[in-house]
């Protein structure tokens, strides 16, 4: 299976094939000397690659994976070819906009924009209070506020859609 793996803003192509219990991994088309041993069932994994071993921790789901290695966190997004095509179609339809989701649970204390308003990248959209801190949620890109999904005072969960932005028409 081929995956498009995004890490630190770079998208790498990784293919993984398992034959008779042996893994064959390519990275950017090149074969990678790679083995993967689960040390327990909690996410502790020992990797061997190019003569080195790495005690890493891996957690997540199909499309979002955290790899912790040497004290660092690699925050990774995965797509297979079908998902990549679907996402590309979606981006084409929304002109590059999309939902702004809450990255944490909290309460909307103040809404700074309204539907139809044009916003610049970095402009505050709303203020979310979580863990007693007020956090400004900024526009990830320039565009038009297509929809507002929340009201002031509303409690939101992590991952909940707050607003939908549409790219500004050229």
């Amino acid at each position: 299976m081929k995956y498009f793996v995004t890490v630190n803003g770079n998208t790498l192509e990784v293919s993984v094939v398992e034959r008779l219990g042996r893994l064959r991994v390519t990275l950017g088309g090149q074969p990678l000397d790679f083995s993967y041993e689960e040390a327990d069932q909690l996410g502790q994994v020992v990797l061997f690659s190019e003569g080195r071993s790495y005690g890493v921790s891996i957690e997540g789901g199909d499309t979002e994976v955290d790899v912790k290695l040497a004290g660092y966190l690699y925050d990774i997004q995965l797509e297979d070819e079908r998902e990549r095509a679907a996402h590309a179609a979606e981006r084409a339809a929304t002109g590059g906009g999309g939902p702004v989701k809450s990255v944490m649970p909290g309460v909307v204390v103040s809404l700074c924009v309204e539907e139809g308003q044009t916003v610049e990248a970095g402009q505050p959209l709303l203020i979310l209070e979580a863990m007693k801190m007020q956090n400004e949620i900024d526009a990830p890109q320039a565009g038009i506020v297509k929809a507002v999904h929340i009201v002031e005072g509303q409690a939101v969960a992590a991952g909940e859609k707050l607003l939908t932005l549409a790219a500004e028409p050229d």
């Binding site: 793996v5 790679f34 993967y36 994976v65 290695l69 966190l73 979580a130 863990m131 007693k132």
Partner: protein
């Protein structure tokens, strides 16, 4: 000495206090909310008193409940830890009125230092240097603009009743003043029930350096040197060390003397911290924290003094029994706070269930932690889960040791600030000792490019193995449609209960 004390707190600090109390032969009463019923501070106490199911306001912050718990269990004293009721003078008074000892400074000292504005005034009178700014609460953003014009931008808006980085905003130019005033005031109102703000000159490349002091109730006081706390994000400390590279013996003695003067001027007793901003060899009083601080362990590792033990001794009326000359500073200590937060996304809070813990240990590594496998990390309480503290004979070796310890650490289920701390420890500026309170803001916190490919390959294999396991499960379940359904139902049930039924798994 007391035979039993109540600890009006939770998390790592409750454990920290329990540990010293146990070593002193003092029994501990813990209080706990329903959410904390399996927490370590509940399990490690001699007596644990439930305060019901509710937010902090009806549990850890409910003075009546806390004092009643102490009286019902025969505790003779209350240790407030930090946060919650630790700097609440009314609580301190009510504890004393209930015939219990208060393990903290006198209520008057808390009050004098608790209000940023009156404390600035008091310190000015005591001859302690302070940062230029207002002392009265601001009427509104307009007044702030006038003062800012006088003292010059950047300025800092701060909550009069504040602390812990809440209700603080730095303003670089007049155009941002309105918005900053509104969010800071709102945050202050939410956090402290008091939205008043004051303004201060913002020092552009200041370091945050604080002095630990210790007074007994006979009027003797010593300082235990400084802590360097300039590595902060969102005005919250992340990495602390003792000593500071910019403080030599002479400066330590001078700052210590000023800190003791600050404490004496309010008749301080117990452990406290005088915070200073330090820039170009000058230091300015920032505030005094009238409690034990999160970062107290670095002082302990360098001086060998158990600060919680000293707090209990002072509260029990014992004299310090040692003088400034008896204190020796040995080696270098560093602390890293392990918060549930995401450094890659502006240090926003991270929540989840701790599923996978690998904790650092070994030579000269101290872990003050409330973590256990299964702990639910939510947003009700402070996101600080643990602190890693190391000691080394010098700063270079302490840094190397902390890097090693953070590489060993793994907290599964939430993201933590540990990778950011590692980036700090490995940065040239930090290693050279050349940093200020803005250092972290400007640091690249991306994981190194070196291992991107490996991490990407690992993630792809992780997904591959998940899919493989799912496929296997589906294949065997599909043999019989009835079985498939029952298995799916059982599977949900199993997810909830299987570990309960398999204590040996």
């Amino acid at each position: 000495m007391f035979t039993r004390i109540l600890i009006a707190n939770r998390g790592e600090i409750a454990l920290r206090i329990i540990r010293t109390a146990r070593e002193m032969g003092v029994e501990c009463v813990s209080i706990y909310s329903r959410a904390d019923q399996s927490s370590l501070h509940t399990r490690m106490a001699h007596v644990a008193v439930p305060l019901g199911d509710g937010p902090p306001a009806t549990t850890y912050l409910d003075m009546d409940k806390v004092i009643a718990a102490a009286q019902e269990t025969g505790a003779q004293a209350i240790h407030p830890g930090y946060g919650f009721l630790a700097e609440n003078a009314e609580f301190a008074r009510r504890v004393s009125a209930a015939g219990l000892a208060w393990i903290g400074p006198p209520p008057q000292a808390i009050e004098a230092m608790g209000d940023k504005i009156t404390s600035r005034q008091a310190m000015e009178r005591a001859g302690v240097p302070i940062v230029p700014g207002t002392e009265e609460p601001l009427e509104g953003p307009e007044e702030a603009a006038v003062i800012a014009e006088r003292i010059g931008y950047p300025i800092a808006l701060k909550a009069s009743a504040g602390g812990g980085g809440k209700g603080i905003r730095v303003v670089e130019r007049v155009a941002d003043l309105d918005g900053a005033f509104r969010t800071a005031s709102g945050e202050a109102l939410g956090a402290f029930g008091d939205g008043r703000l004051y303004v201060e000159k913002y020092l552009g490349h200041a370091r945050h350096i604080e002095i630990q002091v210790l007074f007994d109730s006979q009027g003797n006081g010593v300082h235990l040197g400084e802590r360097e706390c300039s590595i902060q994000r969102r005005h919250q400390k992340l990495v602390e060390e003792c000593p500071s590279v910019v403080i030599d013996d002479d400066l330590r003695a001078r700052m210590g003397e000023v800190a003791l003067r600050a404490g004496s001027s309010v008749n301080y007793a117990g452990a406290g911290t005088v915070e200073f901003l330090f820039e170009d060899g000058d230091f300015y009083f920032l505030e005094m924290n009238t409690r034990l601080q999160v970062e107290h362990p670095v002082t302990e590792m360098v001086t060998g003094v158990d600060l919680v033990r000293e707090q209990l001794r002072v509260a029990a009326g014992e004299p310090l029994g040692f003088t400034q000359a008896d204190l020796k500073f040995n080696g270098h200590a560093i602390e890293v706070r392990i918060n549930a937060e995401d450094p890659a996304h502006g240090f926003l809070p991270s929540t989840g269930r701790l599923s996978n813990l690998r904790l650092p240990s070994g030579p000269w590594v101290r872990l003050d932690s409330a973590m256990y496998r299964g702990l639910e990390v939510g947003t009700t309480y402070d996101p600080m889960l643990a602190k890693v503290i190391v000691w080394g004979p010098d700063r270079e070796r302490a840094i190397a040791r902390m890097e090693r310890a953070l590489e060993e650490l793994n907290v599964g289920g939430v993201r933590t600030g540990a990778p950011a701390a590692l980036a700090v420890l490995r940065s040239a500026g930090f290693r050279a000792g050349d940093f200020d309170t803005h250092y972290l803001e400007n640091l690249d916190l991306h994981a190194p490019a070196e291992w991107e490919g490996l991490a990407a390959a690992a993630a792809a294999v992780f997904r591959h193995k998940r899919a493989h396991r799912r496929a296997l499960a589906t294949t065997s379940a599909n043999r019989d449609p009835w079985l498939a359904r029952s298995r799916r139902e059982w599977s949900d049930h199993a997810r909830r209960t299987a570990r309960r039924e398999m204590p040996d798994a």
